[in-house]
Amino acid sequence: MAAILGTVLDMRDVAREKNEADAAVAARVRKVDRDQRQTVGLPFVEEPRMICREVNVYYGDKHAIKNVSIDVGKNEVLAMIGPSGCGKSTFLRCLNRMNDTVAGCRVTGEIVLDDLDIYDRKVDVVPLRARVGMVFQKPNPFPKSIFDNVAYGPKIHGLAGSKSELRDIVEGSLKKAGLWNEVSDRLDQPGTGLSGGQQQRLCIARAIAVRPEVILMDEPCSALDPIATATVEDLITELKEQYTIVIVTHNMQQAARVSQRTAYFHLGDLVEVGSTDRIFTNPRHQLTEDYITGRFG
């Protein structure tokens, strides 16, 4: 038991070699008890883009996130799964300080993006959110034209020097989001007139138009039908080449399809982290197994 718990220590250097060994150990050893709430698996990676240490989130008196430490690696898709109300969305929203807008929300601990401690007093959230973009659960295009939706971010950040440059950015973003072919002839139409799946891709285009380093996705497909979901999932796989993506999902198949690493949250605790293959084939924590086998959640 102690040997397994030891893995929560910082072992970034050996993480890769350990991954297979970890899986082997997991196969042999008895599952970690349900009551045990220390993170098992490999929360840390060699090349982290974001480093989170001992993050706690409180909503008033409610302790929503308890002592979560995890890394987000470069150009990987990290999936966060867990039952409703387990805090995965809350944690996601800490990564670009969207929780600042929630009254009574308090965050402690350390979250570092590259070399920037994002909860430092001096950090301005405006450039931070330009670096860490976000896609929300419900497609939320602005009630403006498709063009204006994508152009809004570059405009306010002054990314485009000229109108033609702005057009290039919009076109590029829409192409990356796989929406260009569908909307190129009606950029002046309202973004709200698109179908649900198209709207969500528009929101992704809007997020990547400001050239973020990390994209946070909060259940991006939960309001979409299976076909639109498949399109967005393909898109996530493509975007991984250029961006680091953290995705919250309720859909375990989706996590398995799109992510390289998976983190399982349970009632505010980060219970288990590991490579997606390992988590779904060989969960080491009893709670993880219960969840992925559908015993609850």
């Binding site: 670009n96 969207m98 807008t101 009254a103 959230v125 405006v126 450039p127 931070l128 959110r129 330009a130 973009g133 976000m134 896609v135 929300f136 419900k138 939320n140 295009p141 602005f142 009630p143 809004y152 971010g153 306010i156 950040h157 709200t192 929101c203 809007r206 997020a207 138009a209 400001v210």
Partner: protein
Amino acid sequence: MWCANTVKNMNRHTEDNSRFNEPDGMGATAKVQAGLAARYRKERRFRLFGLAAIAASLLFLVVLLGSIVAKGYTAFWQTQILLDIHFDPAVLDVNNLATANYAALVREATLRLFPQAASRQDQRALAKLVSTGVAYQVQEIVTSKPELIGSIIPIWVVADDEVDMFVKGYIPREVPENERRISDKQAAWIDQLAAAERLRQGFNATFFQAGDSREPELAGIRGAAMGSLFTLAVTLTLSFPIGVAAAVYLEEFAPKNRWTDLVEVNINNLAAIPSIVFGLLGLAVFLDFMHLPRSASLVGGLVLTLMTLPTVIIASRASLKSVPPSIREAALGIGASQVQTIVHHVLPLAMPGMMTGAIIGMARALGETAPLLMIGMVAFIVDIPHSFSDPATALPVQIYLWADSPERAFVERTSAAIMVLLLLLLAMNAAAVLLRNKFERRW
């Protein structure tokens, strides 16, 4: 229809499901079936109550509007008399155009129509057939065309209000002579004028062009309408920006604590305070303390601003609240600052609601009388105001003043002014609906 179909379907179900009956012989479907009629009866009753409420309010509205229109529509016509006025060079001179005795010209013209009226008393009664304002009408004509001096020109002049009332049938002939304000002799003259086609009902342009007057036939709503316009202009330019700014601050920036709660409660209280209290406040602050001009539309506007601000703030806050949080998140999520989020996204989406609130506030301000009484806008003001500091009165105050006047002719003018006010209110509310539809965006 819909009910009947459903019942039919339910019946079919009951037959199909009869084999699932419970031991007590009464299946679930049967129980549903048994209560169904009562349920639908209740629904019908509920709908009927609503319908009855609507019908009652419509009835009252029709009665109210009907009585106003029935009393007031005649005010838009005015009896006129054709007089042959001799621009007598003995009375008129190019040099004395401002001081000449025009009334004498008019009197002379009436005498020429009825030479048989010999006694002074008769002559005075005869002169009373036309309005005292005709002298000014004649003066205007001569002043603009001095070349007319010496000629005899037929002119349609405004009849006296009593004549007007008599012709319109509001002064019945059956009443004994000493109980009506038109003598038998005057009645006879009026009949003769009518027979000679020297009497007509013309459009009452004076009503829309003149200010207030002691003479009903010379009184108009222009002065009051301009006063209302100036007052509303002040109210709108002050209350909309201030109200929106206050709402945006309270809704978007203010921390949620005891102080903001207190402010919110007070704003809601202010919205319910009787408007005359605002009038007293205006009297104390704007007139007694700041020494602003009495009876001025500027002060009226300030007082009505105080009165409409709570309405505007509450409506604006409600429409800010109704902007979906997803839009805010979307803007914040790509790095818009809070002010950018509000200015670029929240305000445009909330604008229709804010404008509706402002227009409804304006409509209330337009119909407000009590606070204006307190700051002296209730005065008898003949001149049409031309600036914010001119003494002025407002439409509802004018209605109040006319309703108080004893002359029979003011009764129809009161109703006519009410009709004009209602039309303005209708137009403003229609504008509110149009603006909302035009600027409303779906998301």
